[in-house]
Symmetry: C2
Subunit: 199 residues, 2 copies
DNA sequence: TCGATGATTTACACTGTGTAAAGCAAGCTA
DNA sequence: TAGCTTGCTTTACACAGTGTAAATCATCGA
């Protein structure tokens, strides 16, 4: 960590640096060099340091930047508005695959840096806790609809849903095994529906 | 990559370096320094380079070293010998949690390095393919027992089982949410049993 | 015209990786 | 016992990438 976000400099320059960083993270991964960022953004390397303090400050700002452009509220509401458990689970998995698709490169870098960089680790865990809460609310909704199978507590079902929808699982299926988004949604929904919902 | 494994030097020294590397990976993660490895092993930094070529050669050797000490054949046979699908899934999840427990620190480092380091990435993917095959054989066994639910193909069920049993999911549940191994085995087994097995 | 701001240029310190070369101790072999 | 090989040490250095510092410059508003 270092300078507080947004404190210094021309907002446009700042945004431009972040945009370039996003691009570079997307294809170079965590091995991006600050000199490269600066070059592609058309500023000096030192400008980057002035804006973001250090490497991890830059990545951190990128995470915040993405948060804003994502705006999950609406999508979550749509999931919660599902008329029944099965539909809710399907919408949840659809949102999940869209989410991971959107942030994939950053997720990769953050998962990797999580244990080496305290600030980045905290930022990542923070967002994951939001995810947990979101999935918790979904399961609560299923329970309210009286469709959660008797075998499950809300806590266990929430945690499991959260964990099973996590990045690795999604990446192995869609990235490594070449499943399409639809295939992912369909299979995951089937898995969860049979398990979590009352017959 | 660099020198071929096992080509150079005193095997005892080699083993000692690997043992120390394992320790360091376990508590420093991927931020281990070769100088630290050398110091703790009681050899010069250059000895490490002579034995393993470079950083990624050392990590690679560590992976091979662990393979030997793990010997999964017997455990896999025990899973396959389960009398029915439910028991098989439980044994699979038990083995899974034991496996991740055993290699957790290395898994962390390799998952992180996977996309930055070609050699390490290949080594990791190689092992993950073995996992895939193992889970594939398990599902095939369930199918042979006529206990795979009609909704599932062997391929889809295998892939999903593999993906759902992956590292992230396990780590989130046991590491972040503080589930015990037993809790993990129980909940995952319940999830999979209800989904994959015929009623 | 003054002064603040945003950024540039240049320079340098530091860390960690990787390479190169000379030397040294022990053991085998002729 | 001389000579060679092997395994390692010591020293030295090149290089990349991060991070810091200071002087300078251009622009813009008061």
């Amino acid at each position: 960590m270092s300078t507080d976000a947004g404190a210094y400099g021309d907002p446009e320059t700042r945004t431009r640096i972040l945009a370039v960083t996003w691009e570079l993270v997307a294809d170079r991964g965590s091995s991006l060099k600050l000199s490269e960022v600066a070059e592609r953004a058309g500023v000096s390397r030192q400008a980057v340091y002035l804006h973001f303090g250090d490497r991890s400050g830059l990545l951190l700002a990128l995470v915040h930047h993405m948060d804003e452009s994502l705006d999950l509220g609406e999508s979550l509401a749509h999931v919660q508005a599902a008329p029944n458990g099965a539909e809710l689970l399907e919408r949840a998995m659809r949102l999940n695959t869209d989410f991971w698709n959107a942030i994939q490169p950053v997720a990769q870098v953050l998962e990797a840096a999580q244990h080496d960089d305290e600030a980045l680790g905290a930022a990542w865990r923070d967002r994951m806790e939001l995810r947990q809460m979101a999935f918790g609310m979904m399961i609560q909704r299923v329970a309210d609809l009286r469709q959660l199978a008797a075998e499950w507590t809300v806590e266990d079902a929430s945690a499991l849903l959260y964990a099973v929808a996590h990045f690795d699982t999604w990446r192995e299926l869609t990235g490594q095994l070449d499943w399409t988004d639809d295939h992912y949604v369909e299979a995951m929904t089937r898995l969860l529906r049979r398990s979590l919902l009352a017959a």
